[in-house]
Subunit: 355 residues, 2 copies
Amino acid sequence: MTHRIAVIPGDGIGNEVMPEGLRVLEAVAKRFDIDLAFEHFDFACCDYYAKHGKMMPDDWFEQLKDFDAIFYGAVGWPDTVPDHISLWGSLLQFRRQFDQYINLRPCKLLPGIKSPLADRKPGDIDFYVVRENTEGEYSSVGGKMFEGTEREVVIQETVMTRHGTDRVLKFAFELAQSRPRKKLTSATKSNGIAITMPWWDERVVAMSGNYPEVSVDKFHIDILTANFVMHPDWFDVVVASNLFGDILSDLGPACTGTIGVAPSANINPEGTFPSLFEPVHGSAPDIAGKGIANPIGQIWSGAMMLEHLGHKEAADAIVTAFEAVLAEADPAVLTPDVRGQGSTETLGRAIAERV
Amino acid sequence: MTHRIAVIPGDGIGNEVMPEGLRVLEAVAKRFDIDLAFEHFDFACCDYYAKHGKMMPDDWFEQLKDFDAIFYGAVGWPDTVPDHISLWGSLLQFRRQFDQYINLRPCKLLPGIKSPLADRKPGDIDFYVVRENTEGEYSSVGGKMFEGTEREVVIQETVMTRHGTDRVLKFAFELAQSRPRKKLTSATKSNGIAITMPWWDERVVAMSGNYPEVSVDKFHIDILTANFVMHPDWFDVVVASNLFGDILSDLGPACTGTIGVAPSANINPEGTFPSLFEPVHGSAPDIAGKGIANPIGQIWSGAMMLEHLGHKEAADAIVTAFEAVLAEADPAVLTPDVRGQGSTETLGRAIAERV
Ligand SMILES: CC(C)[C@H](C(=O)O)[C@@H](O)C(=O)O
Ligand SMILES: CC(C)[C@H](C(=O)O)[C@@H](O)C(=O)O
């Protein structure tokens, strides 16, 4: 059985890390005898938008919908296309139109990567953020009144549905149930955001009835971000709305020092549409073109993709490989962000060989 | 000239730290010959709400509006009153009805307080978060449809006005201008929250025209929280919407290890109504009644209140006093959270004596 993968490198360092992501996937596919067929798409700010005045062709949905997965680099080039246009014209469209309603990101201390937190070592921090990925605070509902005057009022609506909320809670409870600690933390702000968030809390309580083995707690988002820094060891699975999950899934990897290498899975659990796998980092215009971007985010995303496609063993082999290369800490191999003098390619090759 | 101060200890440890806050204010008032007149109010969950079924009497506005400031402890007792009821029935009413549109919180490494970040020492981190405090994401506009059914939809509106946004930006630019580094960072999320936040960015650009000496940058809230952990030394003044400011002003003190002792000023800069000064910490039901809460948050809030009332020297004397007591690190004096065996009272007395 062939897995058909749509490959979209995007902008900036997306184009540099993608070849390494593919290199490692090809290596592991060979070893585990997995049949991957890649097809490339140039949807991006540079140069697609420049040529066509839009991020993707009108029939993008048709073109992509039958793939088994989308392997995505990073999109965005604010110098020429404002972020809200590039993102709402690509990534956020995929998440919504392909109903990738789960965003899943691991927060894990890795060997050889320095955490900004004092006195933490690999094993101390190891949790997942499960983020609602299609609705909530990221709405396009709202507008302006008295525009351009002193009386200007700007309104944007947060829209949560029971359908959309319960399915992400279900996914998070299942994930917590499958892990040894069986612990779920809900991100709320019911003391300040007094309509949607108290309701979110109620849905958590309702869902928890189905998972008696899972212990549940909740924190308001302000103190929760504080606890990520002060007590990252408290967490096992954290579930959050779209915006809160966005914040927590950057902050979590920041606490482990892995923000430059963390992966992100945008999942449609039913498999009705392709799921999308991407590094957490963006297109990084400041270092683009230098060949020094760390490719582990892309490579780790590839591992999450393989796991999603049913190849858990192959996925684990990738993670083991990059952990080993990081632990070895050969400066000629590693990229500058992890105290090496190597390049995107030397690090990608080393991981592919290790696989 | 007498400054009339309304004192509202509130719930839980609010009642324990308030006497120490007052003790220190009385000491400094004596030394600097400042005339403070305190009047006490029992508005709280325990026991006011229990007796009257509401957080405050109906004429609270009349009762409080002519005070020069409100000195506030902490309110909330979720076992008997849900947080969104206690907060919207008190603190959030004050902020709104008294138009305390600035929330100002210092993030500062202190001597003798351990930061959870590696390799940081006093002097390395010293910035302010300026938060919009009356509108934005904290609205009471919205509602539910198909309530209680599978089709349930819950909507809450974020409402930003030019009036409300420009005045907080102005305050933040002025503050940045008055500081040596003259640097302002704006918290945004214009790539995802695509109506209100791009507009927020435009207002920042417009306002920056009036402050050519202030250098301005912006970060999306997700990576901004990450940068608080990775690069807290980058920041001087950070300006943010109500929700983003709420998050950042907990996360900032968490990074400096001072979340238990940070102060919060809710300011009506025009002085039309009283401003309110409170510790960042809450009523802490888990340690309430034990006499071990750290009173520095309340005491530092008192210093911010004195500064607001025009007594900068007296305010500085309080900060110098608690910094000295912390640096001395006498375990018999300090509370358990800062590795002492003392009590709320021993620490409060030591600071009052030092003043
Ligand atoms: C208690 C809560 C409503 C409040 C807020 O979110 O504003 C608190 O977190 C704060 O920051 O003062
Ligand atoms: C680029 C941006 C729109 C996006 C988001 O906020 O979802 C990103 O931060 C992410 O987390 O994938």
